[in-house]
Subunit: 371 residues, 2 copies
Amino acid sequence: VSREERILKRLRDIGEWISKEIAEGRRPYLRLRERSTSNIVYDEESGEYVIADSFAERSAKHMNQIRAFANTVRIAMFVAELIRRGKTATLRETYYQGEAYGVFFKDQQESNERIMDLETLLDVPREDFHIFPEERSFVYGPLEVEVTEGHETKRLRLDVIEDGIAIGPKLTTARFIKESLKEKHNGRYDIERVIAIESGGMFSRLIEERAHERFNAILIHLGGQAPRATRRFIKRLNEELGLPVYIFTDGDPRGMHIAMVIKYGSAHAAHVPGLATPKAIRMGVRATDIQEYKLPSDKLSEIDKKRLKDLRKDPRYQHKFYQDQISTRLKIGRKAEQQSFARYGLAYVINYLERKFRLLEEMREENRLPP
Amino acid sequence: VSREERILKRLRDIGEWISKEIAEGRRPYLRLRERSTSNIVYDEESGEYVIADSFAERSAKHMNQIRAFANTVRIAMFVAELIRRGKTATLRETYYQGEAYGVFFKDQQESNERIMDLETLLDVPREDFHIFPEERSFVYGPLEVEVTEGHETKRLRLDVIEDGIAIGPKLTTARFIKESLKEKHNGRYDIERVIAIESGGMFSRLIEERAHERFNAILIHLGGQAPRATRRFIKRLNEELGLPVYIFTDGDPRGMHIAMVIKYGSAHAAHVPGLATPKAIRMGVRATDIQEYKLPSDKLSEIDKKRLKDLRKDPRYQHKFYQDQISTRLKIGRKAEQQSFARYGLAYVINYLERKFRLLEEMREENRLPP
């Protein structure tokens, strides 16, 4: 059975139980893990935020819960329809479509809450039941995938054009052709790693400098905080294909955290498994790189400093490796963008990455990297 | 001679003249059209903002101009290198790379100003001399193009994957294969039009509902205010392939203006030809559509109203067609998003577009559309 068939079966079971309860004169309810901050715990072992064992009800018994109960069931119906018809919807469309059935969500927030209820109930990310956000980032690289479009199934390589392909519903759920890992493409490369890149400018730069060939890499554009579909795609590349993931972001607190969310997930999505890539490694830009490479840089702002102090207390940053990074950054007191390597010429960043890969390899051998 | 060879020749001529002036003991200067608002005029005939005939100098004679003169020449050198090596750079990289040559721009703004100087001097958009911004939007559709990547030239269709392809440097400068217009693809369609869509959600929606097949269309995602590369791409589709362009944006002042900038350009880029598509038509969402289709809508905010009153005075909106639209919107006083058609089901928007195409056709025949 496919993942989608499992979801459909689960939805049918829930629906049948609700019908039965109503038919027999009882008031149905949904029981799901509570998503409040008090029920989110940091799992030391996996390094991820996960949801704990306190449960909440959306029940037809209580006046103050009946709206949430009915609307979650309504979203479940909509989702079953999406899956059966092989369609997708955005968060925004899901909010609007309620009106077709007399469900008037107060606002987008309310509709999003009910979608999160369904994620919690089914224990899968909303992308698995075909609800996607608006943002898209890109990918470029020598991997072959199989996508299903309408009744057609077709194969394509992720390097059909250097401008990149959007990571949307089709790509997120594409089947990876494992054999394409072993092939020498154009007699030139095999795939060894994934490099996830914060800015569109650096993504284009690395393609132009043939980083995908030099490092045998699939390149992923994050566009700032990565959209969930992109995080899911990265996780799949890591787990299904066994490719190590390297994250290259700006040298500032935001860049650090963009990498951390890819690695260990966000508290906001703690109720959703399937998004974190715990083995991903952030390459830089490190505060020490700013000194070593004499990068054009700016002083940390007061907001940056406060952010770093907050991160120091964040459970995801408790490993000595991150604590040291935060202290060093506060001491050096400066930030630099990844595009600032251009001060040494456009191609210079390749030297930087080369040295970084060697350094990270040494650190791994000496056991100096966080788990 | 190609466009790029023309630019290189022009740069060489300027460089030789500067060398000669210096060798003969004179101080060189650059003479270019002034970009101040007082020198931007609205061209009634084309409906575009264009730059007028007042000139400014960046001269090595005057202390207060020598910095601008030297930095513009420096950017010109950088650009010549980009073109010769077949590379591109972002605005941000152009700012940073100065440091490699001892040019420390005060900030991004200063570097951007010098890039605009070069655009004005050469009379081409910066995309033509290989400088691109960060943002990317997407395209999907049954057109075949030829792109040059490194030493390779290859063909691909813009519908390799339904998630879309990024409109970056490669696609902006791709050669369109005109013959692919005449082919029936998969026995199903020919290309008749371009539909440019404001939001990523609606772009995905239209692909899922097979709008490209139903309307024989190339679909373009704008992502809000369209990046310049996208505006250039749309203009090329319109002019080189003779395809009519329809713009579908949210039903609010911003949506109106997104369409207007595609159509007649922005005052900010008046010094750059090659970006406007004067024949493009905005389909909706019109204020009257909100009433007719009973769309979920919000009241116009005070900012929206002020924006509309400003637009009423804007030279681009002087045609009765737009003046009426603005008055109607102020009278109805409401705004609606393009995704709000989902209240009637996800596929409903197709009916709306179908009716709109018929209506616009009638209006064109009755001469009721603006030029």
